[in-house]
């Protein structure tokens, strides 16, 4: 049986305690302290010895770090409820989702289903029922980047002399390149980016709320802008009507099988249209094609000021394909995935047209 390596386990009851543990002695130096929520990413990574931990701090014992609610009513306020009115607190009408809210709750939430169906869809499509009952939204956002050369056992990685994401020299996906091309595999990230969500990061040094797009770095090794002593405490979604106009969202995912598999490609689309049906603002993000969620800026621009007619959709989809460069580090061939960017993007955009009024 594949087993976890030994570690010390802490299960704090408050976010403050958890932050203190992360800032504690030895943290970040040789004896890594790791945060775990649902465990569906960290435990396999530890079993495969892709990551290490001397101490693991579970967030699952923290009351109030899970839940979905509006602003102050958010159970996710938890220990830091008092900070809510501060500069990083939620804006009016913002919807807050606690970091340890499990993916099945995100998928089933009537509020999200009604206002942000793409997020509910994305959550509902992650892996399997049992995994969604364990995995959390915060965990999905912090998911380690994935690569077919990295997501393997220790012996397997030894067989290829490892890669630059750990102790190796090269990136086997692109051996002449000087960077790691492991991909961002979070399904929630591109949707939340398209929706303009923010995340609240908490540490002993204080807290900050940053746009989710800024949480990610285009680097397979250092993929998060979050400091190791920071805990992603909650996700803040702008009010559905905040940007004016009607917001429609769609999420599409490509994978080999009907479940279990990570995405080979995801498309998250959000458009805000005026009464005339003309797109006032568009947000198009691609997942699983780069080390961070990828914003298809040209495609977005091409949509603004136009109606979502077949021609517009086809052009935006073509632009998406041009902006994404999938490499051979996920399922399917890179070339085919590249072609599918266009097909899947068009499908997502068409879904926006069918969005019930």
């Amino acid at each position: 049986m594949l087993r976890l390596p030994p570690f010390t386990f802490r299960r704090p009851a408050t976010l403050d305690e958890a932050c203190a543990l992360l800032a504690g002695e030895g943290a970040g130096e040789g004896r890594p302290v790791r945060v775990v929520a649902g465990g569906t990413d960290l435990w396999p990574n530890l079993k495969r010895r892709q990551e290490e931990a001397a101490t693991v701090v579970s967030l699952m014992g923290i009351t109030g770090l899970d839940g979905i609610g509006n602003g102050g009513a958010n159970p996710g306020a938890g220990a830091h409820a008092g900070d809510r009115d501060g500069p990083t607190g939620s804006a009016a009408g913002e919807l807050c989702i606690g970091a340890t809210t499990t993916l099945d709750r995100v998928a089933a939430s009537p509020v999200l289903r009604a206002s942000y169906p793409a997020l509910a869809d994305a959550a509902a499509g992650i892996s399997t029922v049992a995994l969604r009952n364990m995995g959390t939204l915060g965990g999905n956002l912090c998911l380690n980047t994935r690569c077919t050369y990295f997501g393997q056992s220790e012996d397997w990685r030894c067989s290829i002399d490892y890669c630059m994401k750990e102790k190796g020299e090269v990136c086997w996906v692109a051996p002449s390149s000087d960077r790691c091309w492991a991909i961002s595999a979070s399904d929630a990230a591109p949707v939340l980016a398209a929706l303009g969500a923010r995340v609240r990061l908490v540490s002993c040094a204080g807290e900050r709320a940053i746009p989710i797009a800024e949480l990610y770095r285009d680097d397979g090794i250092e993929w998060l802008a979050k400091r190791p002593d920071e805990i992603l405490a909650e996700v803040l979604l702008p009010a559905a009507s905040a940007a004016g106009g009607r917001c429609r969202t769609a999420f599409r995912k490509l994978r080999r099988r009907g479940s279990i598999d990570f995405a080979a490609l995801t498309v998250a689309a959000a458009v805000w249209t005026g009464d005339s049906g003309v797109v006032e603002r568009a947000s198009l993000w691609l997942g699983s094609v780069a080390s961070s969620p990828l914003q298809a800026r040209d495609a977005e621009s091409s949509l603004v000021g136009r109606r979502l007619d077949p021609e517009t959709i086809a052009e935006a989809a073509r632009l998406c394909r041009r902006e994404a460069t999938p490499l051979d580090n996920a399922d399917f061939t890179a070339q085919w995935r590249s072609r599918m960017v266009e097909v899947w993007a068009a499908d997502a955009l068409r879904a926006l047209v069918r969005f019930p009024s």
């Binding site: 049986m1 594949l2 087993r3 976890l4 390596p5 030994p6 570690f7 010390t8 386990f9 299960r11 649902g38 465990g39 569906t40 435990w43 396999p44 079993k47 495969r48 579970s58 699952m60 014992g61 099945d104 892996s127 399997t128 029922v129 049992a130 995994l131 009952n133 364990m134 009907g258 479940s259 279990i260």
Partner: protein, 199 residues
Amino acid sequence: MSVLSPVPVTTLPLLVNGEERVVAFPVHHTLLEVLREECGLTGTKHGCELGECGTCTVLVDGRPILSCLALAAEMEGRSIETVEGLARGSELHPLQRTFADLGAAQCGYCTPGILMAAKALLEENPAADEAAVKEALAGNLCRCTGYHKILQAVAWAGAILRGEHDARPEHEWLYGSPEPSSTDRGEAKPGGEEVGARG
């Protein structure tokens, strides 16, 4: 030889199949390991230990989870159900009966995990249709059955749980009636002695 282990160990009361027991185990051991090795409940199987096959599925507070990816140390105060707790005394749960009768368990190795996932589904929705059953069980791989007998068994058990005690599976002749009836599809029935069953 070292006998003193540097491995942190914990002792917790675990509520398994309605029975509480105090168990000591290394903190890095998963619920799967503790159930099988500390509690002697080997009915819960393992197929990958990485959350990729569903074989180790158990219920925690009524919800299916993967015991290979859950620390036993997180289980205090939670209610854990395994396949050993499914029958009431010697009376099989309807799912167990239908799985046994339809051959939905061939090698039987994925069976405990699938039974637990199906139990959670039927408790939430005894009227789950085939699409819902597929969705609920899609994380549980089976290499033997092609899933058909499992779908039929869950549908039959659902009917029994809904109180339809005389419920019989589709193609009743297959499951105990003395003489095979011909295929009951009206159109395009192949002639001769062959008998048909639709999965």
